[in-house]
Symmetry: C2
Subunit: 241 residues, 2 copies
């Protein structure tokens, strides 16, 4: 029997019509779909494709056993996630070995800070795998601001707000254009780092980019609470005729 | 009479089915399409949509009066481009004011180091404008390598190879993951900067990402000649369970 392919399909920032034509075709035609989500939630990736799946599609929700309850540095965090990814991969591998293709739904672009990478690296020498790139959340966010992110020779730095305040401040001071992701409860720390770098007034906060609840505002005017998937941006001011 | 909308439509890295569903619909339905190109060439953006345009579509090729013949720093470069963008915008504005929508074809993502930004900033308070984000060329490139670009807290730096060798070397030494664009004749300088930063052996060269001529190789093994739209990458090695 032939072995199916596992497709890591990037869904883009959230709007269904910002999915690629290839992703749209794979999602609508899928017999098996899998996706990561926080336990007890519907899941952002699954929510994006609402109404697109075949009524016969078999769904496999991969629920993170832990998200922010245990710090990354705790060895238990790593152990729990290693076991979790092993179980997910074993199930996906079994599905593929029945001959079925499996579509794994991925928010944003699968190879850019995504969870699918943990499946990909474990299964790439075991079953056929294909990755469909997508519009990143950050592209969705800078488009939402109505201002280009980079011009001419601008340097763009992408940072995770999970970094330390000192590292954030130094990196922010040294770049032209900035994208910060994984914000959520790190927002107060990020604001302090932006202030220390002298750039708080240049920063924008984009929540739910390209989704119905999209909100774009100057960060200095924003609340202290924002979702994990919010994005903070500073636009480059490089060379332009 | 109502005024038409000018759509800056990102086409993504090159494959037609990596265009968004929204871009696909706009391109196929367009009565007026415009695109930038080097004089005497077909143009990369126009090439991507080959076979998709309506037979009735009216095309407007905006031919750069200069690309690399005059250095950026020469005041004539700026003067020539200012006049060029003014002429392009005047024509696009006239089309929109006939009531027609106009689709401007943009390689990659329009707000990420693109030419459409020069139209956008000049016309955004004059006629209705909409920007359709897209898969960036860099997403196309890192997907082509078969390795994720960023993990965990990796810092990603995006650089233009037009920067000086010293600046490139310092930035490359200070980042986890790297993307370098606008390469072409800057390749020897970029290789020297990567070597100085101790990272030449980690670098990949991706030519024609997601296009039929796609070529992915270790940069240290590559020729000294590569197209302007090639992308050099170093993958992050960040935290992973």
């Amino acid at each position: 029997m032939s072995v199916g392919t596992i497709f890591g399909v990037g869904l883009g920032p959230g709007a269904q019509d910002l999915m690629s034509v290839r992703a749209d075709r794979l999602v609508r035609g899928a017999c098996h779909v899998a996706y990561f989500r926080k336990a007890g939630r519907k899941g952002q990736a699954r929510a994006i494709v609402e109404g697109m799946l075949s009524p016969e599609a078999v769904e496999f929700a991969m629920e993170y056993p832990v998200t922010t309850e245990i710090p990354f540095a705790d060895p238990r965090y790593n152990e729990i996630l290693v076991r979790f990814y092993a179980e997910c991969c074993a199930h996906l591998e079994r599905l593929a070995k029945t001959g079925a293709d499996v579509v794994v739904l991925c928010e944003g672009d699968p190879f850019f800070y995504g969870s699918f990478m943990h499946v990909y690296t474990r299964l790439k020498d075991v079953v056929p795998l294909e990755v469909v790139p997508a519009i990143t959340g950050m592209s969705g966010a800078w488009t939402a601001t109505g201002h280009p992110i980079t011009w001419g020779d601008d340097v763009l730095t992408v940072l995770m707000a999970t970094l330390s305040e000192d590292v954030l401040a130094a990196r922010i001071a040294a770049t032209d254009a900035l994208v910060v992701m994984k914000i959520g409860r790190n927002l107060p720390k990020l604001k302090r780092a932006l202030h220390a770098a002298g750039r708080l007034d240049d920063a924008w906060l984009v929540e739910y980019a390209q989704m119905p609840r999209q909100r774009v505002q100057h960060l200095s005017a924003a609340d202290e609470v924002t979702p994990y998937f919010s994005i903070v941006l500073i636009h480059g001011q490089g060379r332009r005729p």
